[in-house]
């Protein structure tokens, strides 16, 4: 008798798991991030001591081109540059936004996607900012 009750209990649990998992949509997956919003911003953002948006954007573009990206879209008003590159069969897309920070600085934020995964590794972004620094002859400053 006890056994039967146990089996019944287990099957009820399994059944409810199936039912409940059936209800969840996968749309939410597109909005998930592993890192917190604040941490992600600090990983992806650097400040530079310049106010020349045009030169900054042109340097961002040529740095991305050096990294094998083909620039697909750009908008000067928004300060955005989007490009893609191929790694084997995987497509890497990256958007960089340049915007003013106070009177004397520009903020550069990059975010990249590797296939269907968002890149959240600090080292990868650091590589990009090192390349950008070299091209700009300016130091990238961490933003809190």
């Amino acid at each position: 008798m006890k056994r039967i009750r146990k089996y019944c209990g287990i099957s009820v649990i399994l059944f409810s798991i199936f039912i409940l998992s059936g209800c969840a949509t996968t749309a939410g997956k597109a909005f998930e991030t592993n890192e917190s919003q604040v941490k992600l911003r600090s990983i992806q953002t650097r400040a530079f001591d310049t106010t020349d948006k045009k030169i900054m954007m042109q340097t961002v573009i040529s740095t991305m081109q050096d990294l094998d990206f083909v620039i697909g879209k750009a908008d000067f008003t928004l300060g955005s540059v989007t490009g893609s590159k191929f790694l084997g069969q995987t497509v890497v897309t990256m958007t960089v936004i340049v915007r003013p920070r106070g009177e004397k600085q520009l903020l550069v934020r990059a975010n990249a996607q590797y296939g269907i995964t968002s890149v959240e590794d600090p080292g990868t972004y650091q590589d990009f900012f090192i390349a950008l620094e070299k091209a700009l002859f300016l130091t990238a400053q961490q933003v809190d």
């Binding site: 081109q65 050096d66 990294l67 094998d68 750009a74 890149v119 990868t124 590589d127 390349a131």
Partner: protein
């Protein structure tokens, strides 16, 4: 009891392995410049003795049209023009080889469909950036090409950056002519 512990241990090891495999999905270091990036610059860049940005970017749009591309996006404030073109990608050699392989497989009594995996069509994307040189006395043009190739069953066969020097040369020959024509108002 000991056996049970051993079993648990092996489960743990398998679990850890799976966990580690799950973490490796995004490789590191793909935003670092590769070693050959200076040679690539040489291939993709040309300088023109003019400071007229408008003349250069109009000539770029013109030469892309000459090559049969349609414009996708442009931002003249940054000197960007991006364009794409659909084209045939079938190569006779590849198709003949695939058909032969399929026939051999059929003779051997198994079914295979190499023909369906042959290249069929491609989309080539071009992105051109024009900007003043560092000393502001010349205009620098840099073009990059990439392409996506579909097979006979309309699946993507491969994606790649185009690095053939002839293709870049052809573009710049066209551009030089277009700049000349624009200057002569033809």
């Amino acid at each position: 009891m000991i056996e049970r512990r051993r079993f648990l241990k092996s489960v743990l090891v398998v679990f850890l392995c799976l966990g580690i495999i799950g973490c490796v999905s995004v490789p590191k270091g793909f935003l670092k410049p590769s070693e050959g990036y200076l040679e690539k610059r040489q291939l993709q860049m040309r300088q023109y003795d003019t400071t007229n940005e408008e003349q250069i970017i109009t000539a770029v749009a013109g030469v892309l049209q000459d090559l049969g591309f349609t414009l996708d996006e442009s931002e003249t404030k940054l000197g960007l023009v991006s364009a794409s073109k659909k084209a045939d990608a079938t190569s006779k050699g590849q198709v003949v080889g695939a058909v032969l392989l399929d026939m051999l497989a059929a003779l051997g009594g198994s079914s295979s469909n190499n023909t369906a995996r042959c290249d069929k069509s491609q989309v080539v994307k071009a992105s051109v950036i024009t900007k003043p040189s560092l000393d502001r006395k010349k205009m620098v043009v840099r073009v990059t090409f990439q392409r996506i190739v579909w097979n006979m069953s309309n699946q993507i066969n491969r994606v790649e950056t185009i690095n053939e020097p002839q293709i870049y040369q052809k573009f710049y020959e066209g551009l030089s002519k277009a700049i000349f024509l624009e200057a002569q108002k033809i």
